[in-house]
């Protein structure tokens, strides 16, 4: 397995305010990482540090040369004033491989069409992104993320605004993408069951108690420790 990202003794936070420090993490290809933590625990800040969108306050973030990210942000972050079609949205995913002021080639457009088809949203191709349901938006964002043929897929609460059926469909699609393309996935979710079902590695993070733990699922998902972490009596069967 190829090492994609290594965080060495990293502190994460904003404006010199440390959320969590002493983070050590190594992400390799074909791994599925789930990130768990309460609201405001620093999950998204961790993702943004991994994505190099914000620099670590301390330590080193080593990223493999020319690593291509696929990113599925929370869908409500997009301003609905933009009449962007699903096709135009998915095209943007391909920009990771197209330089500024350059045009997309015929091959790029073929990859985009295939990504739309793969995500099962061909019927939504010409609809505006803003007019879609929560589940349709997530599928479109997944199509966008795979259009860039990424090495690492980063998902920020991809099932937050969908119902149970939609959640299942989206997670199956994510798992299919990961296993077929052998790429690494990091996914933030509030749903412990979702994380425990689909991921093989887990990160627990909590800003308030400066807590960070990462490792293989079986080692992390100790019911007692996890219960203490969330302050709940958990049943993860």
């Amino acid at each position: 397995m190829t090492k994609l990202i290594k965080l060495e003794n990293v502190a994460i936070g904003y404006d010199n305010q440390t959320f969590v420090d002493s983070i050590n993490l190594s992400i390799e290809s074909n791994q599925f990482w789930g990130v768990l933590g309460p609201n405001g625990s620093g999950k998204t800040t961790l993702l943004k540090t991994v994505l190099s969108l914000i620099p670590p306050l301390k330590g080193q973030a080593l990223i493999q040369n020319e690593l291509v990210f696929g990113y599925v942000p929370q869908n409500e972050k997009f301003d609905p004033i933009f009449p962007i079609s699903v096709y135009e949205l998915v095209l943007m995913g391909r920009y990771s491989r197209v330089k500024p002021a350059s045009r997309l080639s015929r091959v790029d457009k073929e990859v985009v069409e295939k990504s739309i088809e793969y995500a099962g949203i061909s019927h939504l191709r010409d609809r505006t992104f803003r007019s879609l349901s929560g589940g349709e938006k997530q599928r479109s964002l997944l199509a966008r993320s795979i259009a860039g043929e990424p090495d690492l897929l980063v998902l920020d609460e991809p099932t937050a605004s969908v119902d149970m059926k939609g959640e299942l469909e989206i997670m199956q699609l994510v798992k299919e993408i990961q296993s077929q393309r052998k790429l690494a996935v990091i996914m933030v979710s509030h749903f412990i069951n979702t994380i425990s079902e689909y991921s093989d590695h887990i990160i627990l993070i909590d800003k308030d108690s400066n807590f960070f733990e990462a490792g293989e699922k079986n080692k992390i998902l100790d019911k007692e420790d996890l219960g203490k972490f969330f302050g709940l009596n958990l049943n993860l069967n």
């Binding site: 994505l51 190099s52 969108l53 990210f69 990113y71 942000p73 972050k77 997009f78 301003d79 004033i81 933009f82 009449p83 962007i84 079609s85 135009e88 095209l91 943007m92 920009y95 990771s96 197209v98 500024p100 002021a101 045009r103 997309l104 505006t128 007019s131 860039g148």
Partner: protein, 281 residues
């Protein structure tokens, strides 16, 4: 009919201002789509006022005997420099601790508006000139504008054609653009500089009010009519041209202030689009 034939016979009077108005309408309509989508309508209003201030300041410097300075930095250059500085400031400085961005935009608008009126009171040719700067003139345009404005409009169109995908990308999803190593800050600055350039030349030629109206209203009308982004740009250019040309026409034949006439014509397109949308729904 009589009015129309009189208008046609006065061709030599309105030809140049009409060319300037049409190109201003087209390029403002186009850039206005970004202005509206990025929710910076009031940045564009502020830029038009700052541009007006630059023109007024140039007249003032000439009036107080600094003609040498004024000939080196004429109304266009001074207006352009101030508008560019303001555009650069608004593009690069996005976070203002404790106060909102709108507050700083309002500060720019109010300071420049007040400055224009104070300087207007002191420049030799007085109130009439300042009214022209703010609201536009129906009578004449500087002969150089007949070449300058179409030239700048074409240059800006070419820049936007080249960077279309990038400008849309950084406007819609800044975070992914950063992730894909796009030069977000430089693209945002270039985008706002093209707006500032057009605002500076167009405000000096036509006045602040019509330029602001042409930046805001044609794209708003287009966004009501279609959900296709490329069509929004096209319709906005068409509405911009029609608003400017028809506004000028009404101003000429009905002896109305030009800037106000263009603003009202652009508003009419907005109302028609609103009604269209309501009927369609």
């Amino acid at each position: 009919m009589e009015i129309l034939s009189e208008f046609i016979n006065s061709y030599f009077l309105w030809r140049d201002p009409m060319i300037v108005a049409a190109f201003t309408g087209a390029i403002c309509g186009f850039l206005g789509v970004y202005v509206v989508l990025r929710r910076i309508i009031f940045v564009s209003a502020t830029l038009t006022q700052i541009s007006s201030f630059g023109v007024a300041l140039s007249f003032y410097l000439e009036g107080i005997g600094l003609a040498v300075f004024s000939s080196l930095i004429g109304p266009f250059a001074l207006s352009l420099i101030l508008t560019m500085i303001a555009a650069g400031f608004y593009a690069l400085k996005r976070d203002f601790s404790r106060i909102s961005r709108e507050g700083v935009i309002a500060f720019g608008f109010l300071a420049a508006s007040g400055g224009v009126i104070i300087l207007g009171d002191r420049i030799a040719s007085g109130v009439h000139d300042i009214a022209t700067i703010l609201f536009g003139s129906a009578v004449v345009v500087d002969p150089i504008d007949v070449y300058l404005i179409p030239g700048i409009a074409v240059l800006v169109f070419i820049i936007h054609l080249l960077f279309y995908k990038d400008f849309i990308f950084v406007s819609f999803d800044t975070e992914s653009a950063r992730l894909f190593k796009y030069p977000v800050r430089r693209l945002n600055t270039l985008l706002l500089i093209t707006v500032a350039l057009v605002v500076a030349v167009a405000t000096r030629a036509m006045g602040a009010l019509p330029v602001f109206a042409l930046l805001a209203l044609p794209p708003l009308a287009s966004l009501y009519i279609t959900e296709n982004l490329k069509l929004v740009f096209l319709l906005s250019v068409i509405f911009g041209i029609l608003s400017a040309v028809l506004g000028y026409f009404f101003s000429f034949v009905l002896s109305m202030p030009t800037g106000a006439s263009i603003a009202v014509t652009a508003s009419a397109f907005f109302i028609i689009a609103l009604i269209w949308r309501e009927i369609k729904q």
